[in-house]
């Protein structure tokens, strides 16, 4: 069985009972990446030495009769904005070329502690700023369903690595939809957890009040397996929380979820937005399937929907302009010499940041500047409160809000990259959940006539992440889609 197309659950079961060695699973994955990835460019680099050391540890534990953990021997890809000790971490930016972190992101530590093998670092829009992975300094990732199309972004490399059968699992980060939108466009499952449920230590910061780390998988069961390893308090992250969930809450939810009796809310304002007709049709068909399984569907209102992208643009970029101030040519990363500290920083940043990052830093700096702060930053914070209240009211009478993850399926590479506002508009269904700190999951729900996957988004109340996973597992069973873009 190939490590690429096998499920994480099946691979871990084989390794744990000694039927297959972690080293053999890894060799298969690395061989597959070497063969297949040049056509996708999902990976920026692999780290075979680190993965081989982890595989040997797992195999030694199995030989000694110890349990190496629920992700034993499962290859996992890591978005290149998550720090990996001893392995270059660039955020797909020239500015961080050659940066080797001195420590692991907490999520990397946790998946390795659960037995997973970190095989490499995946491509992204520079510093996670984008929705297509075309803003990578190292070139775009291709969509496994059609290599002339974008995988979405910013975690497009992680989504393509999983959807293309290179690895069963990947980690990404989601500031305004950067896990869910590429999951939708690549036909895999992606979860942005409730803010605080998963540690941000070692995640290179973009918008700190919005950023969350989360997983990609090809099935809800595999997604649950990795979530059970990820969640929980980390004192090193000052906004980390300890959710009141039992151990293995996600695997239990994935095994026992049901749509029967569930109440699903369809957002009235979303139906009025411009939506690709094929995306609309796939989502409506999925809702009919849920109703056939005993779910109730009712219309709800998010009256402040029009404020979401403006508030997000101002707040995410204000936070980015602050977070990215650290790249000054002194402490790490690239350096362009200057006569004084100010010119050193200005020249380093001009040479190191790509055009999208520069645009966003400018907007964010403007929104925080003296004389404009009240009109932009303060009003956007006000909008954020209003949006969260709107969501909490809409969620009060339903188990989840459901709708499309993205207004379009995968679009051709180059189609939107020259028009930043068109790119920002793709985030219309995803940014508000980051503003409100809510959990949201994207599940493949159908295909366009051209065979491109369509994603269904489920959004829940704070800390309802396992409930969402249970609903998604039941929905996945009811839909019964074949989600391989090509023969293994």
């Amino acid at each position: 069985m190939s490590a690429g197309w096998a499920s994480a659950a099946d691979l871990a079961a084989l390794v744990r009972r000694g039927a297959r060695s972690a080293e053999a699973v890894l060799a298969d994955a690395l061989e597959r990446i070497a063969r297949e990835d040049p056509a996708l460019h999902a990976f920026l680099r692999t780290c075979p030495e680190r993965a081989e050391a982890a595989a040997r540890r797992v195999d030694a534990q199995v030989a000694a009769g110890e349990d190496p953990g629920p992700l034993a021997g499962v290859p996992i890809a890591i978005k290149d904005n998550l720090c990996t000790a001893g392995v270059e971490t660039t955020c797909a930016s020239k500015l961080l070329a050659g940066f080797v972190p001195p420590y692991d992101a907490e999520v990397v530590r946790r998946v390795e502690a659960a037995g997973a093998l970190v095989v490499g670092k995946t491509n992204l829009d520079e510093f996670s700023m984008g929705s297509s992975t075309e803003h990578s300094a190292w070139g775009p990732t291709k969509n496994p369903w059609d290599p002339t199309r974008a995988p979405g972004g910013s975690s497009g490399g992680s989504a393509a690595a999983v959807a293309g059968g290179l690895v069963p699992l990947a980690l990404g980060s989601d500031t305004g939809g950067s896990i869910r939108q590429p999951a939708a466009l690549c036909g895999c499952v992606g979860l942005k957890p409730t803010y605080g449920a998963v540690s941000r230590r070692g995640l290179v910061a973009f918008g700190s009040s919005l950023d969350q780390v989360g997983p990609f998988a090809r099935s809800v069961r595999d997604l649950a397996l990795v979530m059970d390893a990820l969640w929980g308090l980390d004192p090193a992250d000052m906004t980390s929380a300890q959710p009141a969930w039992p151990a293995e809450a996600f695997s239990a939810a994935a095994g026992g979820g049901s749509l029967e009796g569930a109440t699903l809310g369809v957002v009235r304002e979303y139906l009025e937005l411009t939506l690709d007709p094929e995306v609309r049709a796939a989502v409506e068909a999925a809702l009919e399937r849920a109703q056939a399984q005993g779910a109730r569907v009712r219309e709800v209102s998010l009256a402040q929907t029009a404020l979401a992208i403006p508030a997000y643009q101002v707040l995410a970029n204000a936070e980015a302009s602050t977070n990215l101030a650290r790249y000054d040519g002194v402490h790490y990363g690239a350096r362009a010499e200057g006569a004084d500290s100010e010119s050193l920083a200005a020249r380093t940043r001009a040479a190191g940041f790509g055009p999208e990052v520069r645009r966003r830093i400018l907007l964010g700096t403007f929104a925080l500047s003296s004389g404009h702060y009240d009109a932009y930053y303060l009003k956007a914070q006000r909008a954020r409160r209003v949006i969260r209240a709107d969501f909490l009211a809409a969620l009060a009478g339903v188990d989840a809000l459901v709708g499309p993850t993205s207004p379009v399926a995968a679009f051709p590479l180059g189609e939107k990259v020259a028009d930043p506002l068109a790119m920002y508009a793709l985030d219309v269904f995803t940014v508000s959940t980051n503003l409100a700190g809510l959990p949201a999951l994207s599940l493949p729900c159908g295909f366009t006539a051209a065979g491109l996957p369509v994603g269904l988004q489920l959004t829940g109340a704070p800390w309802s992440d396992p409930t969402l996973v249970g609903l998604a597992a039941a929905w996945e069973r009811a839909l019964g889609l074949d989600r391989k873009p090509r023969s293994p």
Partner: protein, 100 residues
Amino acid sequence: MAGSDFDPRTPEGVAHVARLARLALTDDEAQGLAAHMTKLLEAVDALQALEPDRSALEPSPLHALRDDVATASLPAGQALANAPREADGGFVVPAVLSES
């Protein structure tokens, strides 16, 4: 240009923001970014219907902070390992004081 007296939709205004952001720009880049800022500020105009409200800056339950507890920091050698230039256990920066 001083204080808040600038318009980010003009090349001069962009140049001012770029100085605040420590970003070197060419004149052509400032021109292009002024056009971008014009469109972007139109796109976020919906915010202007809201009243500015300082209570929106109060900590939200969404972002509960842990206690501030001191822990060990990175050893100096590790902190310097990625420095583009280092000397004598420190980061090298351009002179901030001139000899007179």
